[in-house]
């Protein structure tokens, strides 16, 4: 296998990390202490956030245990009406996963009649995650967390209305 093909096979997250290591090695060559201080600061930060990450992992696992994708499909399908908006908001808040995991699921939902506006509502509410709220509170405080979360939920509805206006649903 050629080097080009091997590089192509490396996942994006590692390509990014290797690029950062490469930047560090260049910096290290020209300014040793700068690179070492950067690594030390990162190490201290990572040690500090380990308990926080473990907490998030536990909450995410508990949420995964109680979310049933079959039920989601049932409530977000065509003719879901006002209930569909409520479900899109709630599911967006509860479901976790990177976009490349969610997009195929959303494509299936769209194929079974989910409106573009509900897709937009769902995707916008990914911003607020019950499992991540403790982290947001730790860094930004309770007031910020409440105001931002409420604003995101309200704007997700506006987002859905705008997307529904600009992007017509394809007739089935």
């Amino acid at each position: 296998m050629s080097i080009k093909k091997k590089i192509k096979k490396i996942p994006g997250k590692f390509k990014f990390l290797f690029t950062v290591f490469f930047v560090y090695s260049i910096v290290f060559y020209f300014n040793k202490s700068l690179a070492i201080t950067g690594i030390e600061k990162t190490y201290i930060m990572l040690i500090k956030i380990i308990p926080l990450l473990l907490f998030v992992l536990i909450i995410m696992t508990v949420m995964n245990l109680y979310i049933d994708s079959g039920k989601i499909e049932k409530h977000l399908g065509k003719d879901s009406g006002i209930k569909g908006w409520v479900y899109a908001t709630i599911v967006g808040l509860l479901i976790s996963g990177p976009p490349y995991v969610l997009f195929p699921m959303l494509k299936d939902l769209k194929a079974s009649g989910m409106k573009n506006s509900l897709l937009a509502v769902f995707l916008y509410n990914r911003n607020v995650k019950i499992s991540f709220i403790p982290v947001m509170m730790y860094y930004f405080g309770l007031k910020f967390t409440i105001i931002t979360s409420v604003a995101i939920i309200c704007f997700s509805i506006l987002n859905g209305i705008l997307i529904g206006f600009f992007v017509q649903d394809t007739a089935k």
Binding site: F16, G38, M60, N64, F140, K143, F144, L158
Partner: protein, 137 residues
């Protein structure tokens, strides 16, 4: 879903998150150490400029939202304005320039482009609104 599958799903999300988190924190710390006042020069407290730069930075980044909270929190400690950080964490998971081709292929070109533009504008509006509300309460 049983406990084994649920744990596996969460761990898979973490496997994606960790390399990105380490990479971004390494970069942020390198920039901070190299120029301790870079953020103070870049973020002047101007409502539109700060939130625009923050939103732009979040748009080109990717990962699960918790990563953006951690990075945003550290940026805040380094002197980046709350306005910029709020816009940053908002666009982190709602605007995905890197994910745009993927979104287009699954959900359609018009949907993906309009959604990302609307979300970018909303991030700036919400950031201004949140900081303004925090100031008055």
């Amino acid at each position: 879903m049983n406990i084994k599958k649920a744990t596996q799903k969460s761990l898979n999300n973490f496997k994606i998150m960790i390399p990105i988190l380490i990479g971004v924190l390494l970069l942020v710390n390198l920039i901070t150490v190299a120029s301790s006042d870079i953020y103070l020069k870049l973020f002047t407290g101007n409502y539109i400029k700060d939130s625009f730069i923050g939103a732009l930075a979040g748009s080109v980044s990717f990962g699960i939202p918790v990563t953006s909270y951690i990075i945003g929190g550290e940026l805040l400690k380094d002197g980046v304005s709350l306005l910029a950080v709020t816009a940053f964490i908002l666009t982190w998971s709602t605007v995905g320039i890197a994910m745009l081709p993927l979104e287009i292929s699954f959900l359609g070109k018009k949907f993906a482009i309009i959604r990302n533009i609307v979300n970018f504008i909303f991030a700036i509006v919400i950031a201004v609104l949140v900081v303004w509300i925090l100031k008055i309460i």
